[in-house]
């Protein structure tokens, strides 16, 4: 079959460039400039799809993004699903398949659904598949419902791109109104962003034979484009759909052919000073029995295929309308030597100016199409008076319908601007804008060219709405929403069952949902609801327009963010060393990638952790503590500010010394723990946990900007100005000495919780004596430019002592053995310092500090609180999953606590844990019970410190 429906001339296609493609496994040929839809119609393919629920044969209905009936799945490098056939540009080697049919749309086993269609109306599954559980049926129902799956593989080359842009004016649509707007704004020197969804500018002018100033309208388009292309202030994109209108005039545009080989699609985020919505209007279908049969199309689409693609979708055409626009269609068809058998006009009075366009065509006034012959291909339509009675069939193979025009107000409505129903146009029009935007042209209800461009010649528009053909005896289903198989009877059922609001009707029937978002059928649903309820359409209202206006690839939304940059990640100068030495790397808060553990060949996780922990407890280990948040504070008011944000007193510190502290939030819960050091009279250094560094920074900034704007406190983030290697373990002093330092390391000269500036291994360093492991520790801070060198020297100096790098897993064990708290484990957003046995850190000297009042109020209410305890499983070899609940006696009762951590202790040589337990501190020595799904684990309640309870080792 070779393009039997192609006209011998005409159309905006390149006949010198044939294009071969396959559809459902059959080879065809089209031309450069075709869409898949126009090429299929040119080749006489009538049945192109099966419907969503009933699997009825469907053909191509429209010519643009409004296509409700035929979705295709593309194969190979173009792999994608659910593409409206009318929006797929034809290219050499294209391979496409219909969705939702097997083995083919011509013979589809799913078509058996048509036999039981009366038993599966809208919402049938809500009522039917209840027992024993909806989820038993859900997978097979979802498989049966017809949409394509996601591609199995990404494209083998190329990538998606997302980018930003800014404009004084964004214009959506490059039809006549959009081009006029672009000219005006461009000439005024404003920055213009003009985006149009089609491959070529011109909008409806591409499909019609109109004139401007007596010359072909496309000549005017060419002149405008030439002028725009000379303006540096104008960005003009074709194949670019404005698919979302967000707050603050943020518009999102999907560009499908960016013109660079490596870029598959580009997503623009455009911030516009003003938005001009020139999106045209969409023709709607007529609603009558059998209005979905292959061969029933939108009238304007018939016109578009004839004029734009040189394709005649049928040999003998009947047109059915309630408005004037169909007469211009008929005139174009006659001019193209297409046999127009009749125009069926539901109006009793047709304007003479319309009739004058088609002098030789039979017009049936006050009549409707009430039925069709032909299941897979139209053979005839039944025409009878609008009020019913009598009628006769007219033979034809193509029916072009026009139920009137709906301004394309999707973007307008997405902006949350309002709509109003216009009786004269029988359509919803833009009303009040709530963002800086305006609608122009057909999108604003100016439906003819003469009202848009000076000198434009067009047939005046007039309509008498007909929301559905309402004559008795229609045997076939009358569809309102072809894509979702929603018929008039479905809407009537929804209304009978009490879903009277149009939003409820939408959800009950699914009318207006899906890929096409009800572009051709939504207003017919609203009209049907209005008819059934006897109210004006304005009172029924519209459903909410949502983005995307047309389908958008997920890849385009994501842009570059995939694979290694799907999430942000941070590194330290030691990251590569860690990887080179076999570390298993983890995300460790605030996007830092840190080593979890350093396995040797054949070692399991627990063996590695035990080895690293033994090194710290018995010899020496080192970890990269660089990610800890670090801030330098300066100013006369820093001491009183720190006294406010920490629960204990910091202002009494003398230069060179530091103190551990807790920060609370306003509600008295623990925000962070860390240390503060006084560098000199007015300079301080504050260290926070890794994961909360940004939160603490924001917390401090907010307080300074809102509560204490007059306090002299200046904060500088120095997290990445200081990296540190923390050398920990009883042998750490020997390692420090081996490194060589001008700092006196003796406990008397350099005690716990102090710092010294000096040199270590010949590098300028700040050494801090803090400990997160419970062992003697030196946190050696250097500039990142020196960190890799320091690390190598530490490993070399520690080698004689068996130094090991320590990962996050071992750090967790070491801190649990010591009973040190961890945010996210023991600090779970419910406990306060008293619950953790840290009442000593809640100052009684200070009149106030952040969160104090909330803590006291809560504690004054009394009641049992969950308190930190240690737990020892009765079976020392029994591990308890972290997060396990504790219940009274292990019974199925309300929990009395939770296991926050459980580790194998190298000190205790057994599993030990920490838990938050109701009234826990008074229950030391008792037995509590961990309740698991299939087991109960008795545990002994203990003090939460399993190692060096007096802190002798860390102060050594």
């Amino acid at each position: 079959m070779t393009q039997v429906n192609r006209r011998s001339q005409g159309g905006r296609i390149d006949r010198s460039r044939p294009v071969r493609f396959t559809f459902n496994g059959t080879g065809y040929e089209g031309y450069e400039g075709d869409t898949l839809a126009s090429a299929l119609l040119a080749n006489g393919v009538r049945v192109t799809a099966r419907s969503f629920k009933y699997h009825r044969p469907r053909g191509i209905v429209s010519h643009g993004p409004e296509e409700p009936a035929t979705l295709v799945e593309l194969d190979g490098e173009d792999a994608s699903g659910n593409r409206p056939v009318t929006t797929v540009p034809l290219k050499e080697g294209l391979s496409a398949r219909s969705v939702n049919c097997w083995p083919s749309p011509g013979f589809d086993l799913g078509g058996v659904n048509q036999l039981i269609s009366r038993f599966i109306p809208a919402g049938f599954y809500y009522k039917t598949f209840k027992w024993p559980d909806w989820h038993v049926y859900e997978p097979s129902i979802r498989r049966a419902a017809g949409l394509a799956g996601a591609p199995a593989r990404p494209p083998s080359s190329g990538h998606f791109e997302a980018r930003h842009a800014h404009a004084d004016v964004l214009i959506a649509g490059a039809g006549p109104a959009g081009l006029m707007a672009a000219l005006a704004v461009g000439r005024a020197g404003k920055r213009v962003f003009l985006a149009d969804e089609g491959p070529e500018a011109g909008g409806s002018l591409l499909n019609r034979n109109l004139t401007i100033g007596g010359r072909p309208a496309m000549g005017w388009v060419a002149e405008v484009l030439a002028e725009l292309s000379g303006m540096e202030n104008v960005t003009h994109l074709q194949n670019a759909t404005v698919w979302a209108y967000r707050e603050h005039n943020l518009m999102i545009v999907n560009e499908r052919a960016p013109g660079r080989d490596s870029i598959l699609e580009r997503n623009w985020r455009v911030r516009a000073g003003e938005v001009v919505i020139a999106t045209g209007a969409t023709e709607r279908t007529m609603v009558f029995g059998g209005n979905d049969r292959p061969g029933v199309m939108l009238a304007s689409s018939v016109q578009a295929y004839v004029n734009r693609w040189g394709v005649v979708p049928g040999r003998r055409v009947v047109l059915f309308a309630n408005n004037n626009s169909v007469y211009a269609v008929a005139a174009d068809l006659v001019a193209a030597d297409v046999d127009v058998a009749a125009i069926v006009d539901s109006r009793d009075d047709v304007p003479q100016v319309a009739l004058d366009l088609v002098p030789g065509v039979e017009v049936h006034k006050g009549a409707v199409v009430s039925g069709v012959k032909g299941r897979k291909a139209l053979r005839a339509v039944k025409v009878e008076p609008r009020t019913g009675g009598g009628g006769a069939f007219i033979d034809c193979d193509l029916l072009g319908c026009s139920g009137g025009w709906s301004p394309t107000v999707h973007l307008w409505s997405q902006s949350r601007s309002t709509l109003t129903y216009d009786e004269a146009l029988a359509a919803f029009l833009p009303d009040t804008a709530v963002q800086p935007c305006r609608a122009v042209g057909a999108a604003a209800g100016e439906l003819t060219l003469d009202r848009i461009v000076e000198g434009g010649a067009d047939l005046p528009y007039a309509i008498e709405p007909l929301w559905r053909v309402d004559v008795p005896g229609q045997r076939d289903k009358a569809f309102l929403d072809l894509q979702n198989d929603v018929s008039v009877s479905d809407v009537q059922l929804a209304l009978r069952e009490g879903y009277s609001n149009v939003e409820h009707v939408k959800r009950y029937t699914t009318g207006g949902m899906g890929i096409d978002q009800g572009k051709t059928g939504n207003i017919n649903i609203i009209g049907t609801v209005a008819m059934e309820q006897g109210v004006p359409l304005q009172d029924v209202g519209t459903t909410t327009f949502r983005s995307p206006y047309t389908p958008v690839s997920f890849g385009a939304i994501g842009g570059l963010r995939e694979e290694s940059i799907l999430f942000p990640y941070r590194h330290t100068p030691v990251t590569q060393w860690n990887k080179d030495n076999g570390a298993v790397m983890y995300e460790a808060g605030a996007r830092w990638r840190r080593p979890g553990y350093f396995p040797k060949a054949g070692e399991g996780l627990q063996e590695v952790v035990n080895r690293e922990c033994h090194a710290v407890r018995d010899g020496v280990g080192v970890y990269d503590g660089s990610p800890l948040g670090t801030f330098e504070l300066k100013g006369r008011d820093v001491p009183k500010f720190l006294d406010f944000i920490y629960t204990n007193v910091m202002s009494s510190l003398t230069p060179g010394n530091g103190r551990y502290g807790l920060m609370l939030s306003d509600d008295g819960l623990i925000l962070d723990d860390g240390v503060a050091f006084r560098l000199d009279e007015h300079r301080w250094m504050v260290s926070t946990s890794t994961g909360h560094a940004d939160a603490v920074n924001m917390h401090i900034e907010e307080l300074l900007q809102t509560r204490f704007p007059d306090w002299q406190v200046m904060i500088t983030t120095v997290t990445s100005q200081w990296n540190n290697a923390t050398i920990c373990g009883p042998k750490s002093r020997e390692v420090m000495e081996a490194l060589g330092t001008d700092i006196d390391l003796s406990p008397e000269a350099f005690p716990f919780m102090s710092f010294r500036d000096g040199t270590v291994a010949g590098l300028p360093a700040r050494v801090v004596r803090v400990s997160f492991t419970g062992e003697l520790s030196y946190e050696v801070n250097v500039a990142p430019r020196h960190m890799a060198e320091l690390w190598d020297k530490v490993m070399a100096a520690g080698a004689p002592h068996g130094i090991l790098p320590v990962g996050s897993e071992s750090s967790h064990v070491l801190r649990v053995e010591k009973g040190f708290l961890s945010l996210g484990h023991e600090v779970d957003g419910t406990v306060d310092a008293y619950d953790l046995g840290m009442g000593w850190i809640m100052s009684r000297k200070k009149p106030d500090y952040m969160g104090k009042r909330s803590v006291l109020l809560r504690r004054d209410r009394g009641g049992d609180r969950r308190e930190l305890v240690g737990i020892l499983p009765e079976d020392p070899n029994r591990q308890i999953p972290e997060g396990s609940p504790l219940t009274p006696g292990g019974r199925k009762e309300a929990t009395e606590g939770v296991v926050t951590a459980c580790v194998w202790s190298v000190i205790q040589d057994r599993w030990v844990g920490l838990a938050l337990l109701k009234g826990g501190r008074a229950r030391h020595g008792e037995t509590a019970h961990v309740r698991l799904k299939d087991d109960v684990i008795p545990v002994k309640i203990t003090n939460p410190v399993f190692h060096d309870p007096d802190g002798v080792r860390l102060r050594s």
Partner: protein
Amino acid sequence: MRYDVTTERLGLMALFDIQGDRAAVAKWVGDALPPLPERPNTRSSGGGADVFFIGPNHWIARAPIEREEALNARLNPTDCPADISIVRVSDTLTFFRATGPEAAEIMAIACPLDLHASVFGAEAVTHTEVFGLKALVLRCDGGFEFAVEQSFGDMVEDYLARALA
């Protein structure tokens, strides 16, 4: 087709975070740096150094790394008066440079800010986002420079390589 852009990860630069009362800062800094810029989100340059006006009473001074110790000695962060803060932050930021005819294309991918010459001129400098990260952005000859927290440097290189692919 690659974007016609050259990107480069720059080496360390001498950076100092300076905060405090404008007059006090000007008095302490003296002629060690170019004069403080008058307008927020602009910079002043001179003698191979720049001063970026990045917030209320907040500046960043930038100079070649070779001048770091001399500037440190001259600015004397540890002994400056209580009402100003000077902190050496040379290691905290990694600078990147994108130059070439399509440098703006790459910046459009990376940065949500309007960097059109009509609103972001030669003297402009500001904190914004680059690839979702807090970043300092400014113009340079033939393109743009931007700085991110240095721990994100590898990731930004990764991003740039993908954007340019």
